[in-house]
């Protein structure tokens, strides 16, 4: 009885692995068929083979790596600055009532405004310069990381802080070791959310006007009706943020090494 149940369960498991492996190729196949069948306009909805050709051409021309570098450096620099600022200020507002009274109300007002809404003012302030793009990414990342850190710091086990106090831990070590590491599980969650936010804001930053970048390439291709290239750009962006998220998840697990 139970043996039969087990073998049917394992058959289901094997089937679902098979389905999972075939899922993407199957959808790509359907897409190819639909795009070629003439049901839809192949110019607006090109088949995957056209997209693949466009991607290969993009890579061969050397533009892909220039675009990738431009986009990645914006995301990485913006993420690093925003995250560092968010962590430092989060520790301070989370730990000191006075600092929190000073900054938290302001941050809570600014935080819910979608970063994309700042594009017009950023163009007025910085024109089409890299600074403006950096500003947008930093802005998006900062508030998420700040809030996660602020909350995490307040949730640090009081007993740990008291134990550290009893041992004579000086204030700087208390902040940047006990409080920071105590809040690290919360901070890494905030950082991971901020990774995807940095890609959202990258899109806004590059659409607002750029001279290189993956999203910039998508926009140019759209203006030239190169839908294959548009979709290739989207695929590259999707893959890039997927890889960044996975890489960060792995890193975050290592960061909280004592679990």
């Amino acid at each position: 009885m139970s043996g039969g149940g087990r073998s049917s369960a394992s058959a289901t498991a094997r089937l679902s692995v098979l389905v999972a492996v075939l899922s993407v190729p199957a959808f790509t196949g359907v897409w190819e068929l639909v795009a070629r069948s003439g049901i839809v306009n192949a110019v607006l909805f090109p088949p995957p083979s056209t997209v693949a050709v466009a991607i290969l051409e993009w890579i061969r021309s050397g533009q892909f790596f220039a675009d990738l570098t431009a986009s990645l450096s914006r995301v990485v620099a913006g993420f690093a600055i925003g995250a560092a600022g968010g962590i430092v200020l989060g520790v301070l507002t989370g730990r000191f009532r006075l600092v929190s009274s000073l900054l938290s109300p302001l941050f809570h007002i600014l935080r819910p405004i979608p970063p994309v809404a700042f594009v017009p003012i950023v163009i007025l302030w910085f024109g089409l310069s890299e600074t403006g793009k950096l500003f947008l990414v930093v802005w998006g990342v900062f508030f998420t990381v700040w809030l996660a850190t602020h909350i995490g710091v307040q949730k640090v086990d009081r007993g740990l802080i008291r134990a550290a106090q009893m041992l004579g831990t000086p204030q700087p070590q208390m902040l940047w070791e006990i409080v920071l590491l105590g809040a690290l599980p919360y901070i890494t969650v905030g950082l991971r959310t901020a990774v995807s936010i940095s890609f959202y804001t990258l899109v806004a930053a590059e659409l607002a006007g750029a001279f290189a970048g993956i999203v910039y390439r998508i926009e140019i291709a759209q203006q030239n009706m190169q839908t294959g290239q548009v979709m290739g750009g989207l695929a590259a962006l999707g893959l890039l943020s997927f890889v960044a998220d996975r890489a960060f998840a792995t890193l975050a697990e290592r960061a909280v090494w004592w679990r």
């Binding site: 740990l160 008291r162 134990a163 004592w258």
Partner: protein, 288 residues
């Protein structure tokens, strides 16, 4: 000297570096008319009500009382973790307003730093006080040997049992060579067997380190076994009801529980606690 249950062969180098004992019978802890009040949603709670007590240099004093009577609050005030509402706590003549590293604390939970190995947890205090890393680690290694966890020196706290964690917490508090060691139900969460072993270890440790110890517990047997004096607290508001001298000979071991003097003392305590518990309970019923 007593024969050591842990390492009879090994003289503990750490002992040499502990502060030499001050003249006996000198008060080291003075609690003067201490009251501590908390703001609770239901109004103010008097956790400690005009408590006065004195602990003499080198003494082992236990505080016993029903749950919620303010033992932890009293101990935290001695540690400088809780501000007096009225009165004050003086340790070595100085008012306790903030924690001081010469006062060690072992909490009911071990509260070990989860990101540090056993060795680094114990070395934390000496490092925080500015000792060079090598020296801090040397102190840690000696204490690790003393608590018998040499094999676990580089283990992380979450991989240890509750009893092992509490031993590390005790070692961590000792690493700063405290003049006063405050212990808040340190064995409360342990099973009976581990607890008995820990009590014997503490008795033995005490013979070596010459620190003044204030020890909070629920357990009368534990209090009598370990202490020179037992303070019995009343149910809230927390007050000291009775101050009992335990004049049983030392060195003691858990075998003491069969002693007649011990039993008489225990009966005294239990009677007191029972009548106090009944009073508190009736008080609660009147309020309800």
């Amino acid at each position: 000297m007593t024969k050591s249950l842990l390492r009879p062969d090994q003289p503990l180098r750490l002992v040499d570096t502990f502060p030499p004992s001050a003249p006996a019978h000198q008060a080291i802890i003075r609690v003067e008319d201490l009251s501590i009040v908390f703001d609770a949603p239901s109004g103010q709670v008097i956790a400690v009500d005009r408590v006065s007590l004195t602990v003499v240099q080198g003494e082992f004093v236990s505080i016993v009382g029903p749950s919620g009577c303010g033992k932890s609050t009293l101990l935290n005030a001695m540690a400088g973790l809780e501000r007096p509402f009225e009165g004050q706590v003086l340790i070595a003549g100085e008012a306790m307003r903030v924690p001081r590293p010469e006062i060690g604390m072992v909490f009911q939970q071990p509260h070990l730093f989860p990101w540090k190995s056993v060795r680094r947890n114990i070395a934390h205090g000496p490092r925080a006080l500015g000792k060079p890393k090598a020296e801090a680690l040397r102190i840690a290694d000696e204490l690790i040997e003393m608590i018998g966890l040499t094999r676990f020196a580089s283990a992380y706290p979450h991989t240890l049992s509750g009893g092992m964690q509490q031993r590390v917490a005790i070692a961590r508090a000792l690493a700063n060579q405290p003049r006063v060691l405050l212990m808040d139900e340190p064995f409360g969460a342990l099973d009976a067997q581990t607890r008995a072993v820990m009590q014997d270890n503490l008795l033995e440790l005490r013979e070596r380190i010459n620190a003044t110890i204030v020890f909070v517990t629920h357990d009368i047997d534990e209090a009598i076994l370990l202490s020179d004096r037992v303070l019995i607290m009343s149910a809230g508001p927390g007050r000291i009801l009775r101050d009992l001298q335990v004049s049983l000979p030392r060195p003691r071991s858990s075998a003491i529980v069969a002693d007649a003097a011990y039993l008489a003392l225990k009966r005294d305590c239990l009677d007191l606690i029972r009548s106090e518990g009944r009073r508190a309970f009736e008080q609660m019923e009147v309020k309800a």
